[in-house]
Amino acid sequence: MSGLIPLTSRELIRWYRNPVSLITGLIQPFFWIALFGSALGRFPTIFLQGAPNYITYIIGGVLSITSVFTAMFSGVNIIFDRRLGPLGRYLSSPIRRSSIVFSKIFSSTLRILVQVAILIFAAMILPNGLRFENGFSLFDSAVLITAVVLLALIFSSLFSIIAIRVTRMETIFGILNLVNLPLIFVSYAMFPPGIMAGWINSIAKYNPVSWSSEAIRTVIINGTLTGSQLANVGLWLLYLTILAASLIILTYVISERGIRD
């Protein structure tokens, strides 16, 4: 995939030149941690699956949602290249069309990992914040990173596919607005399954945001996993892997067939 490395480094230079976008991407998740954490500070801990406080409970959800949002926006980022002109240059250069899209997907993944690191640090220094009461092993951090990265790949691919085919900005932003609330609230990102209405619960089970949130939550709360917890985490990561792989292949095929100019 010629073009992938130069285009990814272009994305990283642009990111480094616009630190504001990194910060604005962090404001919302930071509010969630701080606001929900203090507002629901006396949330009955019986619902929290063993977490010592609400922040420790929701951090997995907040990291997942941050990943989804950053990924969605970098997926649709191609519309700006189309509007401002660089896409025309790339389309008439001898590079694979897919490298244009994958440069965005990969650079956004890197970006998400940085955001995740900052958010974890922020959650730890808050009063009554994130606590790893049962430790946090190398394996646990591998689970966390894998879940966040797979989720990022899923949503950046999905939204790249949309942006490759749809050229109207209004349509794309319409879709973004339509999906963001259900993705958060019809999932186990913020609230325990125990307090959800039955119908939400039955949909939330199939939301990839739930798989990632629950996987991260399980390792953060428990540190060392029991056999059944391990099986659950493995299953969630498997679902995420299958979905991410399918969407990446689809993105490759669709982008190679042509990117709307």
């Binding site: 010629s2 073009g3 490395i5 130069p6 285009l7 272009r10 230079i13 642009r14 030149r17 616009n18 509007r83 401002l84 002109g85 660089p86 025309g88 240059r89 790339y90 389309l91 008439s92 250069s93 001898p94 590079i95 694979r96 042509g258 100019d261």
Partner: protein, 330 residues
Amino acid sequence: MESIITTENLTKIYRGSIKAVDSLTVQIRKGEVYGILGPNGAGKTTFIGMLTTRVTPTSGRATVAGLDILKESLKVRKRIGVVPQDLTTDEDLTGYENLKLVSRFYDITANEANRRIDQLLNMVQLQKHSHRRVKTYSGGMRKRLELIVGLVNDPEILFLDEPTLGLDVNTRMQMWEYIRDLRKRLDVTIILTSHYLEEIDALADRVSIMDNGKILVTDTPSNLKNSMKEDYITITFASPDDLKLGEKFFSNNEKRFSGINTLRVKVPNSDETMPDLINYFSSHSVKITRITIQKPTLDEVFLEYTGRSLRDEERGDARKSMFTIGRLRR
């Protein structure tokens, strides 16, 4: 002469059944500057889009440097340079970074790329500004940068789609110099679209006049102009008596208009008329104070083939360049 681009009934129909390019069959020769002159919406950009593999043809075939534009599009893109009508550089990168990025799309070593980039920056006098972000460039600087971005891979064929659109007269002339210079130093075939008559006239070896997706005629600019057979000779005489004598010379010419001591006539070929006229004036001692010869421009040619004048289009040009800038700033 050897053809470097050939097309056969190349057609593009957009949704809504707009025939943007209508069954074009052309041959572009190796080493020439081939101009395409046409008003807004003629289909110039679409035609170039297909040759540069950006736009998929609806039907027909084309080869560029002997390569099929559909089956070997990646190879075609290696051999061509493109300067599209819209700006393509990344505003958040510097001029140098933009050039460097594009050079990495080709199989050129970093050293070779740096050497070329330096040379190109020098050519368009941007070396001083190469480490500024493109965001801070003026319109003319950006167009100059666009030109050399299309040249980093040392292409065999260069496509220039309205390279001077929206530039002021001085900057435009400067761009013409760069393009002429390119032609001299590099062995490159140039395909140039424009709706500026003077630009095509100044730069193109051959020109196709395009309208509504069709090419109406192709020839050298001078052949096209000569074929119009309408030169104007305007003479100012020293006195009314001289005018009378002068009118006698043109007595058989219907297309004759007289003013106070001046005479304006239309002749098929002034190059042939002038020697006779000079001899006549000296043998009859006619005193003249001024003589002007006006040859036809490509606009007369355009008018002849399309029934419309391109000059009227140029007036709409300010609006178009505003639109282009609007599009960039959005």
